[in-house]
């Protein structure tokens, strides 16, 4: 009885791991790092775990959880409600469509896949925000943000891979 109970708890804890890790990444990405000239280029780190889990464990991070995570991102950083929800859902959908190709490939292929997807996402975000603002927004900062995002990808993704190998095998 006791064993079954604990087993159930462990299974549910393990299956909620992708969601919790994505949640933590989003909270961390909204932290004020107090680094000079950082606020206009700080990346939406949530895109990395979303890409990762869409490829490796999409069953543990369903659509509606992506929706909620997007709303959370909007609330924290102050984008119009629904903006990052759309961005995250697009990222998830795109990665899900390509998951057969990228799953289990060498790390640099996996990284390249992210950099292509993220570029599309950054451009989409800029277009969406420009439509919202009814003016052409500055694009340069988006490029810097993109470079930062792709730059920190290996760090976060390798951590996620390691955690996945340890807990979700």
């Amino acid at each position: 009885m006791n064993d079954v109970f604990w087993q159930k708890i462990t299974v549910s804890a393990k299956s909620s791991l992708p969601f919790i890790l994505t949640l933590i990444t989003i909270f961390l990405s909204a932290l004020p790092l107090r680094m000079p000239d950082f606020i206009h280029v700080s990346p939406a780190l949530g895109l990395i775990p979303i890409y990762h889990w869409a490829i490796y464990r999409s069953n543990l991070l369903p659509f509606y959880s992506i929706f909620l995570l997007g709303l959370l991102q909007d609330l924290l950083i102050g984008t119009p409600l629904g903006f990052y929800t759309l961005i995250f859902l697009t990222m998830y959908g795109m990665s899900l469509a390509q998951r057969r190709f990228f799953a289990g490939k060498a790390f640099h292929v996996y990284w390249f896949g992210f950099s292509v997807a993220a570029l599309a996402i950054i451009i989409l975000g800029w277009v969406l925000a420009s439509i919202w603002a009814e003016t052409f927004l500055n694009f340069d900062a988006n490029l810097v943000q993109y470079a930062v995002l792709v730059g920190v990808f290996p760090m976060i993704a390798s951590l996620l891979l390691r955690l996945q190998q340890k807990f979700l095998q």
Binding site: A30, L33, F83, L89, T135, A141
Partner: protein
């Protein structure tokens, strides 16, 4: 048995993928709908957003604490290293400031006397509320911070937020225990400013990047790099004379401004809460207008 199972799967699998596709599409449409609603019913959505964000402020407040501790430790280490030079610089500055104090006292007395002579109307005085910046990062598409002070602390929508070196932005959303300050760099931000020395009027607009831009100024006016820019007080929203930034570069018709505050480094800000409301609400204005029209 096996045959039956596979026939169920044959129906169930495509159905499942259809349902999941439908779910994806409907969530996509829902997100789009929320965005559209925010554009149409902006006031109501803003209120909901503020209330929801309020839930996460205590958490963000706690988890952002270690970063501030690390920063202050590094800073105190640096201070300790350069303590001799700093001391020397401060002594020099102190001397200069003492001279300034003399001048300022003289000017203050003169100013008071002149104000009395002209029977000038006194400016409204406000109180300062200090608040901590609990979320900072927004990327290029969002220029706002969440602060851990809200309605209960006396913060109102539209209040002005000051950093350690001048204006930071205005309160755009306020909930019970938190508020959101829209920064001067936000593309929605437009404030009337003056070039302090030449008294040239202009409007400063944000562009979601580190520097802001001046527009609507007299085309014949000349700007030089490094001139101080202050709020002009036109329109009655910002009190006059608050430091905003300095002219950073002048191209043909493009004057860029470097803000006096380093927005990325702000830990604490002061919210200037004015005594009475600055404006009559739109509704009262509308009533007055209606009355005027009806009387005619």
């Amino acid at each position: 048995m096996e045959f039956r199972r596979s026939s169920i799967l044959r129906v169930a699998l495509p159905l499942k993928s259809l349902v999941s596709r439908f779910l994806y599409l409907s969530l996509f449409i829902a997100a789009f709908g929320i965005m559209l609603l925010g554009k149409i019913e902006s006031q109501r959505i803003e209120k909901i957003t503020a209330e929801l964000a309020d839930i996460f402020v205590p958490l963000m407040s706690v988890i952002s604490q270690p970063i501030d501790t690390i920063h202050s430790t590094i800073q105190s280490g640096r201070d300790l290293m350069s303590i001799r030079e700093q001391n020397y610089m401060l002594l020099q500055e102190n001397l200069r400031l003492k001279q300034w104090q003399q001048v300022a006292r003289k000017l203050e007395i003169e100013n008071l006397a002149l104000q009395k002579l002209l029977n000038i109307v006194k400016e409204k005085k406000g109180k300062f509320i200090s608040a901590r910046v609990v979320t900072g990062a927004g990327g290029p598409l969002a220029s706002s911070f969440l602060l851990n002070a809200g309605i209960v602390d006396g913060v109102h929508k539209g209040n002005i937020v000051l950093g350690d070196a001048g204006v930071v932005g205005r309160i755009s959303q306020v909930a019970k225990g938190s508020s959101r300050v829209t920064l001067l760099t936000d593309f929605n931000s437009r404030i009337p400013v003056l070039i302090e020395k030449d008294r040239i009027r202009a409007i400063m607009v944000g562009s979601n990047s580190a520097k802001t831009q001046l527009v609507h100024f007299d085309q014949s006016s000349k700007f030089s790099i490094g001139e101080r820019i202050v709020t002009s007080g036109h329109g009655g929203v910002f009190p006059p004379g608050l430091l905003v930034g300095m002219i950073d570069s002048v191209d043909v018709n493009k004057v860029r401004v470097k803000l006096s505050n380093n927005l990325s480094r702000l830990e604490y800000v002061s919210i200037l809460s004015l005594e009475g409301p600055n404006f009559k609400s739109l509704a009262t204005e509308q009533k007055v207008l209606n009355r005027l029209v009806n009387n005619e």
